[in-house]
Symmetry: C2
């Protein structure tokens, strides 16, 4: 073939044809994954739309077997989509509202849901059915949509008005060739479950192909504060981008251009930048040459700007992460940390990490939960920067087992979340985060913080176990020893408990009760054998009247008696009180001292 022949074969390829041929790039690499991907795209869109509109999401997902195919239905109570936009939102790839907006959202590219429609059409030849209602006053629109892959344009097959009982919302139904996997790490159920973990303000109902209903309840009635859209930050610019911005800006001069098109650029920094660049504030942006743009960019780099504002991000939050881990894994200990926002290439991002330990978690390779902008990442764990960060932290020093550069082993679950205006996914299927050094560093720092807390907890636990063992031994031996000694010395028997408590360095409480005529006279002796000053509250619960000098007594169906006590190391105190009736609690309750330091009493409160 010569040049002329080759030329005749050259032609334009539509993005729809491209992704039809390369559907694995979008997450359609096998039938089981295809179903999950379709559900994910629709649910992500629903959550984004509800949050944008300030509506608590109520999402319904249903999967039905139809012949050899599956019909996927996803319905939300979001704002709906206006009639004119429906065909392109669902039937044109690279069409969306979030691509140019700098703020955290699940969808970014305007590809996801159209790709699901494309996949349905490719594998079953059936159009997507979209129903949408934008106001309680109007009727719903129901549309059947195909994608013309050669043109990447939607084709409306049928359209009708429709009475829908909801006040607003969107429903999409697609039919795909797929295979439904149940009870797997990678399944629709698992995706929805992990989604609900970090979206406690959403209610998600799932009906599986067997008709079984799963409900992920709404745990919080509060919408997360909506992330705010920001303009680009001067430190995130590349020369090509800057040249394009200069060319297309509506600003009439450079000064206005800088002030209006960037975040964190005010009067003062504008003058500073223009002076450094040696450019005229009145110059027309549209007329700047490459070299002048390069000067402007250099001036950006040499100027300090405030980092981009971070209200464009929406973290899950430490308390919610802990709550979710507690509810889901029933561990004995949990910790979470939300790092301060940071920046990579001008994109704000933020990292969160949670660890749950022990309790019902079994000893095994730790379960790693990865999230990006509140979307669970189920695939490509190995190729993800979040995984790499976990693997390269030295967990041995935090009390877990670990082979070099592998996930640690132990009774732990680790949750990692990155929120950003621009998550650097490794591929279009949004399965793994790319290894950006700034992000990896932040994840590692967060993991190390959580790791240190884990180590502290484990050390404390270890100490308590050791102490308990020692105490148990003493408690076995001392009574025998003491009795023998007393016999020989012909002394009264000594108080073994107190001796053990002194040896162990405990805070010790001894209750002595003398009963006469239905009245109990009680002496509480409190010894501080610990090495620190202790400020305690001591509680007793009694049925009947109580006489207790200096105590707070609250009376209901029974009386709670509270003494506030402060003891220096080595000090002891004696408390006397009388009860016309019965003491309910077996041992006195004490708050203000760790359980492992307490003997003769029950710990009270956290």
């Amino acid at each position: 073939m010569r040049a002329e022949e080759l030329a005749r074969k050259q032609k334009e390829i539509s993005i729809a044809e491209f992704f039809e041929k390369n559907k694995h790039i979008l997450g359609y690499s096998n039938p089981a994954k295809a179903i999950i991907t379709c559900v994910k795209e629709a649910v992500d869109n629903s959550l984004d739309a509800c949050e944008d509109a300030g509506i608590l999401p109520d999402i319904f997902v249903k999967i039905d077997r139809v012949d050899k195919h599956y019909r996927i239905t996803v319905e939300d109570n979001g704002p709906g989509i206006v009639r004119e936009q429906i065909p392109r939102v669902f039937g044109k790839l690279l069409y969306g509202s979030r691509f140019h907006a700098i703020r955290q959202s699940r969808g970014q590219q305007g590809i996801g849901i159209s790709a699901a429609v494309l996949y349905a059409q490719l594998t079953t030849g059936k159009p997507a059915v979209v129903t949408s209602k934008t106001s309680p006053k109007s009727k719903a629109v129901r549309m059947e949509i195909f994608i013309n892959t050669r043109k990447n344009e939607p084709e409306i097959i049928r359209e009708e008005e429709y009475d829908w009982y909801v006040s607003s919302g969107t429903r999409i139904e697609i039919e795909i060739a797929g295979s439904y996997a149940r009870e797997r790490k990678q399944s629709v159920y698992e995706y929805l479950r992990e989604t609900s973990v970090v979206n406690p303000h959403a209610k998600i109902t799932f009906v599986d192909p067997d008709g079984e209903i799963f409900e992920f309840r709404r745990l919080s009635e509060e919408l997360p504060p909506p992330p705010k859209e920001i303009k680009p930050h001067p430190h995130g610019m590349e020369i090509g981008q800057l040249m394009a911005m200069l060319r297309y800006t509506k600003a009439k001069n450079l000064k206005d251009f800088l002030k209006s098109e960037f975040v964190r650029v005010g009067d003062k920094t504008t003058s500073e930048v223009l002076e450094k660049a040696g450019l005229n504030p009145k110059a027309k942006p549209q007329e700047l040459e490459r070299d002048e743009a390069a000067k402007l960019l250099n001036a950006f780099r040499e100027t300090d700007f405030l980092p981009p504002p971070t209200d464009c991000l929406s973290p899950i939050g430490e308390s919610l992460i802990m709550k979710s881990l507690m509810a889901r894994y029933r561990p004995e200990w949990v910790y979470a940390t939300t790092r301060k926002p940071s920046v990579y290439s001008g994109h704000p991002f933020l990292v969160e990490v949670g660890i749950a330990y022990g309790g019902e978690i079994k000893e095994d390779r730790v379960t790693l939960l990865r999230y990006a902008n509140k979307i669970p990442l189920l695939y490509q764990q190995g190729g993800c920067a979040l995984t790499k960060a976990v693997e390269t932290v030295n967990w041995k020093s935090y009390g877990l087992q670990q082979s070099r550069d592998e996930l640690p082993v132990g009774r732990a679950v680790i949750l990692t979340h990155i929120a950003s205006t621009n998550i650097p996914y490794t591929s279009e299927s949004k399965e793994a985060v790319a290894a950006i050094p700034e992000i990896t560093d932040e994840v590692r720092l967060a993991l190390q913080e959580a790791g240190r807390k884990l180590r502290e907890y484990l050390e404390r636990k270890e100490r308590a176990i050791k102490k308990k063992k020692k105490e148990d031994v003493l408690n076995k031996i001392l009574p025998l020893l003491a009795r023998k000694l007393c016999e020989i010395l012909e002394k009264d028997e000594i108080d073994v408990d107190r001796v053990v408590a002194r040896i162990m360095g405990n805070l010790h409480v001894k209750r002595e009760v003398a009963e006469e005529d239905g009245v109990a006279s009680v002496i509480l002796r409190i010894f501080n054998f610990t090495k620190a000053r202790r400020e305690l509250k001591v509680f007793e619960m009694c049925s009947g009247g109580v006489e207790a000098e200096g105590a707070k007594v609250s009376q209901s169906s029974y009386a709670t008696v509270q003494w506030d006590v402060a003891l220096n190391p080595g000090e002891s105190i004696e408390i006397n009180y009388r009860v016309r009736g019965r003491i309910i609690n077996k041992k006195p309750f004490v708050s203000g001292v760790d359980a492992e330091l307490l003997s003769g009493a029950e710990p009270f409160g956290l």
Copy 2:
């Protein structure tokens, strides 16, 4: 935000904007990788163009430091590109000649080189400079090209005619922000070296930023047979594709449609398919409903067609793989296998595997070379189906060390190549092959075949070593034993060598020479102690005249004397000859018996 507000934010995103924002997807995730990716895209294009035009590729790659940037120049002697096509080939993404063509080629999508131009423009703001000449008679065109990212259309900044000394060819120069890595597994040098390994018909010259010149010479003057373009195979169809083909075909009826648009569909199969589908051969394809298309597709699936022809593929070939591995790694043993073509989702593909062992290869985790359509894959080894296939073969049974599901350890290099009309890359950056079961199976089968050969070689080697040790021991002890025995029995000393040879089961040669008056009378006694019949050639080399009955004598500056001998197990023979002069060779040469089975003679030939 309500539906109307959301609607106003919806807009179309150009594919150029999309890839500008997601440049990591195309292989621009870090500065070192960016340079390699740019070179790769240009060189892949050059190789494709030369092969299409039947020209032995002569490719020149140069990297210069320019200020803080790098200028990359890639020049070829290909057919050139006609003037009208230059802007779009280099300045429009998703524009190319190979997307719809079903045949093996390096480029598929029409994205690569335009993405390099886009990256250059983004990071340095400089246009690409393209020079092209299509005929010795015409002048060259030189163009400076920008991409209008908002429209994904090229903009010509400057254009001029140009006297270029070559008869035809293309040169592209781009300037990018990058970082140049030398002496790494992932480098421009390594990419070009691995490229030359599987493209021995190409000459590649590389000038690095320090001006050092590396030449990868042309090892073969033969172009690989050009892969032929084929039509789609009926078994590779999905309903959506079939419906689109029906809609856009120029065929007037179903019968013509089937015969003209598919490969392996002839008169007989056409009738069979239409009958099974219950469709009228005269029906207009454009008017078929979805359900009829579904019937047609079902009929496809129920019909046997010949598999797609495989001349659309261009393997490297077993002998070339072995030659390359030999030349590059200097192993002691090498094996390669080219599997028969196979099919996944209607796409023909073919797997090749090579193993080199020992020699100069050091004991270590094995080096894995991955190729797809003759392009070396340098990144994402962990996420690649080729790697997975190697890891999941049980190499312990083939003589290498291996931890479960890891790359084996040993003195080996493993080469894997997949050739296909449609390589299923995991992402647009073409770094790893997706896990398609059909492909993984083929790779594993090929690896197992090579593994068995490796085991056979290693077992043979082991046997030889053991035998040698045994022989060494016998050679030490037997002479002493024999001498003592002979003394006691008052016998002549026995021929120890022969005894050892008999015990070891060797083919043994004994030469006895008697000299008188400058004439040597020689007796060669040959004993076949092996378990098989042996057909040998025995050689002696002499200076001076030779008398040897029944021998072939070839005389030059010395005489080579050859006897053809056949001996059954246990047989021996005596050969007599006379030399007027000297025997040159220390021991007789013997061919036709493995070295480890030979004693008293030198092995000759392979």
